[in-house]
Every structure is written in structure tokens, then in C-alpha cells.
């Protein structure tokens, strides 16, 4: 066994019993499965309307208001239903409504109230006399002619402010009834009415802090909704894994800020340019870059020209170690040399971290391909007449490998900034920094050693081995799987408690570590009754809000969080109350010593 585990193997088995259980009870598919906290949902173009309705319904029911009023409230409160309810409890209904620009009188038939043909009214906008039936009064009481309202809505929708169109009256903060907007606009400009509808729908994504577009390029068209914590990493149904906080590729344990800086640094070719300036100088005669080799400051270009490395000036060839004949370049050179030394040091430091980061990213890519090979090896092994029938330890080991490899990769940009001067220069003394760096690098090295070992064992042709040898490899892989998981957890703890915890800067968002890998967002519908008429869901452009059938409403009415959490609980998991088959399955995969002790 590895040097890390020697001596206290038992500790690992026991302290990590839970993660080991999880390891064996995951279904043996190669996709990392999410844990019971599976709350992220994929919202597609098709399910967007239904996702919105869930929140609309809660608000409509509680306040007994119409849908468009509920939407106006929710847009104002950024679709944060809990916050909306909190404001209601704290400040009351009137304040809740007025802050959102809603002038609602309960149960009143609101919206367009029309006047009779015969009455002629004056519109204050166009300053014309208009028949009463061509005037529309909004909920706030302001009344103007339909042509003017339509003109106002057109300008606002084209400006892109269409989610909340204010009344035309000066200083009236009331938001116009979306049904009136749609009706009046669609008469003359149906495409604008559609655009308005789309804006309303997409508000659920764009104004909602718990929902984000999947950042994949080309865009897959989906959005992800998370439940409790925005600080997490998710995998979209398109396969793209991203950081929910900053919408770039998943990068934990590197913080969002560090990742942003690192990305720029890697893109920036100035490092390469720096390298050239540090290592080469243009020849004063032919301008080719010339590299210095050896300690002497007189360099000679292939064109035959000699020049001084320090100042770049052309010289003769006669020189000693310390001087070149007929040439002196003064103090200026010393500063320049110091500057160069510094650039060189910075560059080497960056290259040190970047090379390791890159190496692990490359390994991760190779290990992704390993999935297919392993699947094959498992299916061959399953057909063989072996004592061992269950091979979930292989696939689970692979998941752990992929997961810990990611952690390891991103731990390098983290370390680059954590122990560099860019972010925390004044936050730590150099002694403090050194202690922290040693602590972290020690953990990083342990993780690295175990990850490489795990990788090596997983590559073994176990499908060709005899029973005994397979069992041996199995134990190694299980132990190493547990070890890398524990080490990852420890590294996150170290980052949280020992490294960032003591610092003042609180802007470092790091998505927490999950043994099972990045959560795969489930389809918005998958959490519900499968009989739900998914196929019948009308497209936003095909129907207005009125197009909703009551059947669908009912289907949604029963859909709630209970069901959501229920379906994920259905997945077999070790909860202490397991059936015999599962228990024996578990035992089969435990290291021999542990099984015996039981």
C-alpha cells in the first residue's frame, strides 16, 4: 500500500466508512451520480413555462391575485418567493404591492375597463378627442387612448425594457397589465407581442438569482436552476460542467476570482513575450533574436556581430570576464538586470504552476477516455467465471479518480495565487506564508501520489487476471478511492480553515467538494409524475397565458417539493436500513480485513 496509508489503514476504513458505502452503492454507470441533495434542474425552452408557473402559482394562491400581477411581483423580487413572502409578513400587502409598482385591488376585475361608444373622451397624450371605447384605463386609474398606449408599449419593448412597462402618466410607477400590453400591441405588431411574451418568460432566467443560462458554446439552450446554494458546480444535460457562481467552467478549489485571473494569465501571451525578452536579445546588426549561452556577457550572433548582453550595444570581440574592450554601459544595466531577474523569477514561478496544472488537465482528458476501456474490461470480466461478480468498484474508482484529478488540477492555480504576491501580499508575513505553503503542498503531494497510483491500478488489464490477482487489485483500488476522497476533503478543509479562513478578504467563492463529483442537473420534469403531459406543453410563442389548460394546471398543482425529494430518495442508498442483498453486495466490496472484523 502507499506510503500515505501505511500504518493507519484502519483509520481510513473506519473514518471513511460512509464514503466507502457511497462508493459501492452507486449504480454502476460511468456517469457520476449525484447524491441525495440532487436539487439542480435543467430548464429547457419547453419546460421554462412550467418552471415559472410553479412560483407564480404559489404567489397567486397566497395573495389571491391574477397571474400577471404575480409575475410583476416576482419580477420585482427577482423570483425569490421566500423573500417576497418575508416582505409580505414584515411590511404588509400594500407595501409589497406598491414597491413593485402594482396597483391591485383584490378580486376586482382589473385590466382594461372600457367605456361606451357614445362618450367622447380626451386623451392627454395625443391631445385628441377619442370615442370612449378606444380608451383604456390601467389599474392605477390613468386612462389614455389605445393608439397612444400601443405607441408607448412599442417603444418600451423595442428598448428591451418590456418586462416592466410603467404607466404613461408622469411619476406614476404603476406597471402596466401584461394582458393589456399584449392585446394592444398584437393588433398592429404581432411579432412585438411575441417578443414581449418571450421577455416575460426569460425573465424567469435573467432576473432570477437561482437560475442561470448554461454557458456552453454553442449554447445548448438550457438553463439550470439550483435550490439552496448558488455556490456550487453543476453539470447541464448537455454535459457542460460549470461554476454556478461565475458561469465559467468548473474550477473548484480555485476560487472564482483566482480562476478569472488565471484564465487571463494563461491567455495572455505576455509571459511568452517575457520569456523571449529574458532569454534573447536582438542583434544590433541583423535584428535576429540571439540567445545567451554561458555566463559571459559578450554574445555573438550568427551574422558575426558581437554585442553586449547587458545593454544590447554592438561591441568588438576582445573581452575579459568582467569587461568588454572599449565598452562600458554604466549603472543603467544593473537596474535592467534586476528587472530581468525579477521577470525571470515570476515567469519560472508561473511556469512551475502552469506545467503541473496542464499535466493534470491532460491526464484528466486521457482518463475521460479510460471510461470506454474500463466499461469494456468490466463487461469481459463479468462474463468470466470468476468468484467476484460485482465490478462496481472499478467504475466507482474511476469516478473518484476523475473527481480527484480535477481537484488536483485546479489546486495549482489556487496555490499560485494563494502563495503568490498578487492577491495576498499584505495579508500574510513571509514566515506565515511559508508555513501555509508547506502545509498545503504536503497535502497536494499526498493527493498527487495517491491519484497517480489509482490511475495506474485502473489501467491494469484486470480482465485478464486470475481471481486472486483481481481481488488484490480490487482492494488496492478501493483503498485508493477512499484515500483520494479523504485527501480531497482534507485539502478543502485546509483551504477553508487554515488558508483562507484567517484572511480578511472574503471574496473567494469556492464551490464545496462533493465526493461524488459535480452534480448533474436533472431534467425539470424528471422530478415529477411521468404521466405529466410533457409533450402537450404549448410553446410560449403558440399561446398566451390564457392558453394554459386546466389539466396541466392540475398536474402541476400536485407537483411539489415532496415529490421532488422523494424521487431522488428512491435511488438505493446506504441509509443503515438496507436489504440483505445490498448489504452483502457492500460486504463483497469491502477490504478483506474489514469484512472479517464484521
Amino acid at each position: 500500500m502507499g506510503d500515505l496509508l501505511s500504518g493507519d489503514d484502519e483509520d481510513y476504513y473506519y473514518s471513511d466508512q460512509e464514503s466507502l458505502d457511497g462508493l459501492d452503492n452507486e449504480e454502476s454507470c460511468l456517469q457520476p451520480l449525484s447524491s441525495k441533495a440532487n436539487t439542480a434542474k435543467v430548464i429547457t425552452k419547453e419546460s421554462l413555462l412550467a418552471a415559472q408557473r410553479e412560483d407564480l402559482r404559489r404567489v397567486m394562491e397566497l395573495l389571491s391575485i391574477k397571474e400577471h400581477h404575480a409575475r410583476t411581483l416576482l419580477i420585482h423580487y427577482r423570483w425569490d418567493v421566500e423573500n417576497l413572502f418575508a416582505v409580505l409578513v414584515e411590511k404588509g400587502k400594500d407595501s409589497l404591492f406598491s414597491s413593485a409598482g402594482l396597483a391591485v385591488v383584490e378580486n376586482q376585475r382589473c385590466g382594461a375597463s372600457s367605456f361606451s361608444h357614445s362618450s367622447v373622451m380626451s386623451c392627454d397624450i395625443c391631445i385628441e378627442d377619442v370615442p370612449g371605447n378606444q380608451m383604456t384605463r390601467m389599474d392605477c386609474g390613468h386612462c389614455f387612448c389605445n393608439t397612444c398606449w400601443a405607441g408607448h408599449f412599442t417603444v418600451k419593448i423595442n428598448e428591451g425594457q418590456s418586462k416592466r412597462i410603467r404607466c404613461m402618466a408622469h411619476k406614476c410607477n404603476s406597471i402596466c397589465d401584461e394582458d393589456v400590453v399584449k392585446t394592444l400591441v398584437s393588433k398592429s405588431q404581432p411579432h412585438l407581442a411575441e417578443k414581449f411574451d418571450r421577455f416575460l418568460l426569460e425573465s424567469y432566467i435573467e432576473d432570477n438569482k437561482m437560475v442561470k443560462w448554461c454557458p456552453s458554446t454553442p449554447h445548448c439552450g438550457s438553463a439550470i436552476r439550483v435550490e439552496d446554494d448558488e455556490l456550487c458546480e453543476v453539470e447541464c444535460s448537455c454535459g457542460f460542467q460549470f461554476c454556478f457562481s461565475c458561469s465559467s467552467q468548473a474550477h473548484s478549489p480555485c476560487s472564482c476570482l483566482m480562476w478569472e485571473l488565471w484564465k487571463k494569465k494563461c491567455q495572455d501571451e505576455s509571459e511568452t513575450v517575457n520569456w523571449i525578452t529574458v532569454h534573447t536579445k536582438p542583434c544590433p546588426k541583423c535584428y535576429k533574436p540571439v540567445e545567451k549561452n554561458g555566463g559571459c556577457n559578450l554574445v555573438t550572433c550568427i551574422c558575426g556581430q558581437s554585442f553586449c548582453w547587458l545593454c544590447g550595444g554592438a561591441t568588438g570581440r576582445d573581452h575579459t570576464w568582467s569587461s568588454i574592450a572599449g565598452h562600458s554601459c554604466g549603472r543603467y544595466q544593473e537596474d535592467k538586470e534586476k528587472q530581468m531577474e525579477r521577470a525571470k523569477r515570476d515567469l519560472y514561478r508561473y511556469m512551475h504552476y502552469h506545467n503541473r496544472y496542464k499535466a493534470h488537465i491532460d491526464s484528466a482528458k486521457l482518463e475521460d477516455k479510460l471510461s470506454d476501456t474500463i466499461r469494456e474490461k468490466v463487461s469481459i470480466s463479468e462474463k468470466r467465471q470468476l468468484q467476484l461478480k460485482d465490478f462496481s468498484w472499478v467504475t466507482n474508482g474511476l469516478h473518484r479518480l476523475i473527481r480527484s484529478r480535477r481537484v488536483l488540477s485546479y489546486s495549482y492555480p489556487f496555490a499560485f495565487y494563494m502563495f503568490g504576491e498578487e492577491l495576498f501580499k499584505d495579508e500574510m508575513s513571509s514566515e506565515e506564508r511559508e508555513i501555509k505553503q508547506n502545509l498545503f503542498e504536503d497535502q497536494q503531494q499526498q493527493l498527487e501520489a495517491n491519484v497517480e497510483k489509482l490511475s495506474k491500478f485502473l489501467e491494469e488489464p484486470f480482465d485478464q487476471f486470475a481471481d486472486e490477482k483481481v481481488m488484490e487489485i480490487r482492494i488496492q483500488i478501493i483503498n485508493l478511492s477512499v484515500a483520494v476522497d479523504t485527501l480531497c476533503k482534507k485539502m478543502y478543509e485546509c483551504i477553508e480553515n487554515d488558508l483562507l479562513g484567517s484572511l480578511q478578504l472574503g471574496i473567494h467563492n469556492i464551490a464545496p467538494y462533493r465526493s461524488k463529483g459535480i452534480e448533474r442537473a436533472s431534467d425539470f420534469y424528471s422530478s415529477r409524475n411521468s404521466e405529466e403531459p410533457v409533450g402537450e406543453l404549448c410553446q410560449p410563442s403558440d399561446c398566451g397565458t390564457s392558453g394554459w389548460t386546466s389539466g396541466f394546471d392540475q398536474a402541476l398543482g400536485s407537483a411539489n417539493s415532496e415529490e421532488t425529494s422523494c424521487s431522488s430518495r428512491k435511488r438505493p442508498r446506504k441509509d443503515g436500513s438496507y436489504s440483505n442483498t445490498q448489504t452483502s453486495l457492500l460486504d463483497l466490496n469491502l477490504p478483506a480485513e474489514v469484512t472479517e472484523r464484521k
Binding site: 392627454d124 397624450i125 391631445i127 405607441g151 412599442t154 417603444v155 418600451k156 404613461m168 402618466a169 408622469h170
Partner: protein, 192 residues
């Protein structure tokens, strides 16, 4: 596309009470897309006595989009660019409502002259002067009013002094050397 009948009505409306409000709107071109607004400097401010001209452009979406307005008379004011005459005023931007008119917008501009908001400046130099040395600001603003916003009345001053029996060229140089001050110019003319 532009609702000219509304602009036309607004012009008639303005014409009706131009004596009461002293605010005028005159078309610059035949098609009513470009107009000139005129407002008097508010009493009790460094702009008092000046007459300020504002260039108005009617956009396509008027009155659902705000009219574009900027001073053509040079003004020293924290919310008005001393270079371009651009105005920083909410009713000309997001607080515009179709229920407002050219005249109400001009009234708002007049109100802005009375009550500068140096914390939301259009001209940082003026705003800084307003906050740090208010007296200097007042005299600069007054000087600009005198120099740029009273140009039209110079002719009137010339006319009055010429009527008193002085020669036209003499009167003009006296007014110029006394910084536009009619009384001072008269004293000069009498003494010299």
C-alpha cells in the same frame, strides 16, 4: 411616423401663454423635427436677466421617446456641459413620460437652473467649483450669463444709447469695454 399633430398642438398651446410663462418654442425647420426653445434665467440666480436658447430635436418615437434638448447658449452650470450644452436631467432620460410636453421639459430645465445638483454632474469642472468655491462659481456663472445669454439684448442697449444721442460705433465700444453693463457704458460715454 412622428406625431406632428401633437407637436403642432403643443406649439399652439405654448403660443397662448407665452407672456405668462416667458417660455417659447419656435420651429427651426418646416417639418417640425427641429425646434428652438427659449427660457429666461430664473430670478435670484446667476442666470437672472439672461435668455437661454435650447436646441430641440424631435425623435421618431415622440412623444413616447423623450425630445433631445441641449443648450445652444453657453451656460456655466454643474448639470450642463460648458462645452457642448448637453443637459443631465432625468425627465429627458428615463423619467420621461409621454404625458410630458416640450414646454414642461423646458420648465424642468428652468428649474434645473435654479436648483443645480452637483452630485450628479454633467460638467465635472463646474461641479467641483460649485462645491469647493461657491462664490467663484456664482461670479463665473454670472459672467457667462452676461457674456453669452444677453447677446440679444446688446442690440437693445445699443439702440437705447444711440437714441440718447451717442454715435453707434462709440456706443458699441463703450458697451464692449464695460463688459456689457449699460450703466457703466453710459458713464463712460458721458465722461469721455
Amino acid at each position: 411616423m412622428i406625431d406632428f399633430s401633437r407637436v403642432q398642438k403643443e406649439l399652439q398651446d405654448c403660443e397662448k401663454d407665452k407672456d405668462a410663462s416667458n417660455i417659447r418654442v419656435c420651429p427651426k425647420s418646416d417639418n417640425l423635427t427641429r425646434l428652438t426653445g427659449t427660457i429666461p434665467g430664473p430670478i435670484g440666480t446667476p442666470y437672472e436677466g439672461g435668455t437661454f436658447q435650447i436646441d430641440i430635436t424631435i425623435p421618431e418615437g415622440y412623444p413616447f421617446e423623450p425630445p433631445k434638448m441641449q443648450f445652444s447658449t453657453k451656460v456655466w452650470h454643474p448639470n450642463i456641459s460648458s462645452q457642448s450644452g448637453a443637459i443631465c436631467l432625468d425627465v429627458l432620460k428615463d423619467q420621461w413620460s409621454p404625458a410630458l410636453t416640450l414646454k414642461t421639459a423646458l420648465v424642468s430645465i428652468q428649474a434645473l437652473l435654479s436648483a443645480p445638483e452637483p452630485k450628479d454632474p454633467q460638467d465635472a469642472v463646474v461641479a467641483e467649483q460649485y462645491i469647493k468655491s461657491y462664490q467663484v462659481f456664482v461670479s463665473t456663472a454670472r459672467y457667462w450669463t452676461e457674456t453669452f445669454a444677453k447677446n440679444s439684448s446688446i442690440e437693445e442697449k445699443v439702440k437705447r444709447l444711440v437714441e440718447m444721442g451717442f454715435g453707434d460705433a462709440q456706443v458699441r465700444s463703450a458697451i464692449e469695454s464695460s463688459g456689457g453693463d449699460e450703466n457703466m457704458a453710459l458713464e463712460k460715454l458721458c465722461s469721455g
